[in-house]
């Protein structure tokens, strides 16, 4: 039997190494390491892969460094719309939510959809209502906002672009044309 293992990501994009200070890099490394360790602990104690990935993503949603949950990016309307999915390979069961803004941890709502509904994907108000009916407390959409993400929206609006997680940094001299 293969050794239990967990892998995680916190997003990809054209994040420029030159724009990342040593302190910022250290913050990311510490955050990622902490989440991996939490997943490793679950697996080492005999926990399921499903529980390990759910908890890892919940922790990543709680960390404002990453674009999910707290720290999620803004839409063009200045709002947040969060999506999440979980899939259990053993059973091929899956659950997902999309376009939610009042659920602190969309991944837990996705897990509820998988385990407590006959459906795979619920969206918007329907997804939120389903979660509330299963004991999830509503939160204010402002919970997800951070000053850094608001600045990214302002820059993206200025340039009329949609942007991936980490390509929203300030332009360097090489990127200024005209």
């Amino acid at each position: 039997m293969a050794k239990a293992v967990i892998a995680i990501h916190g997003g990809a994009g054209a994040l420029a190494r030159a724009q990342m200070s040593a302190e910022q890099e250290q913050r990311y490394i510490e955050a990622l390491s902490g989440v991996i360790e939490a997943g490793q602990t679950i697996l080492a104690q005999g926990g399921s892969a499903l529980d390990a990935v759910t908890e890892a993503v919940r922790l990543l949603e709680e960390c404002p460094l990453f674009n999910a949950g707290i720290g999620a990016v803004f839409t063009r309307a200045g709002t947040h719309e969060l999506d999440a999915c979980v899939m259990d390979g053993n059973t091929l069961k899956a659950g997902a939510v999309a376009g939610v803004s009042r659920l602190r941890n969309p991944i837990l709502a996705a897990r509820l959809v998988m385990e407590q509904s006959p459906h795979v994907l619920l969206t918007g108000e329907g997804a939120e209502q389903f979660a509330f009916e299963h004991g999830v407390e509503p939160v204010s959409p402002s919970l997800f906002s951070t000053p850094e993400r608001r600045e990214q929206l302002a820059r993206a609006r200025q340039q009329g672009e949609t942007r991936l997680d980490h390509d929203s940094g300030p332009l360097d001299e090489d990127q200024k044309f005209g």
Binding site: R76, E81, C85, G89
Partner: protein, 135 residues
Amino acid sequence: TVGAVALDEHGNLAAATSTGGMTNKLPGRVGDSPLPGAGCYANDASVAVSATGTGEVFIRTLAAYDIAALMDYAGLSLQQASERVVMEKLPALGGSGGIIAVDREGNVAMPFNSEGMYRGFGYAGDAPCVGIYRE
């Protein structure tokens, strides 16, 4: 976008993905993250995958499922299937980003075609291994 994939001691695979989407996206836009087979996929035979990047391209290519299909039908290894999708198929359609994946043997793949990807893995009982750029 964030995600996780895991293999437990019973040989079960699972995947999870969560996101705020893209900055300045149109309200109502849904990317690949909540779509099984696009940004998140796991089966009982081969692999668990979580993706991050240009969601529309991951949807059009069914990127996560494609990795499983290349392993199941074409006999590619986890590394070969992941590289084929992330380094060849996605860029051909303008897709940027990466994936994390683990197979039933406990192999881990984390290819990305962007400048960096926040990522890491850890076997039970070992120290975590974390990276951001191409080291």
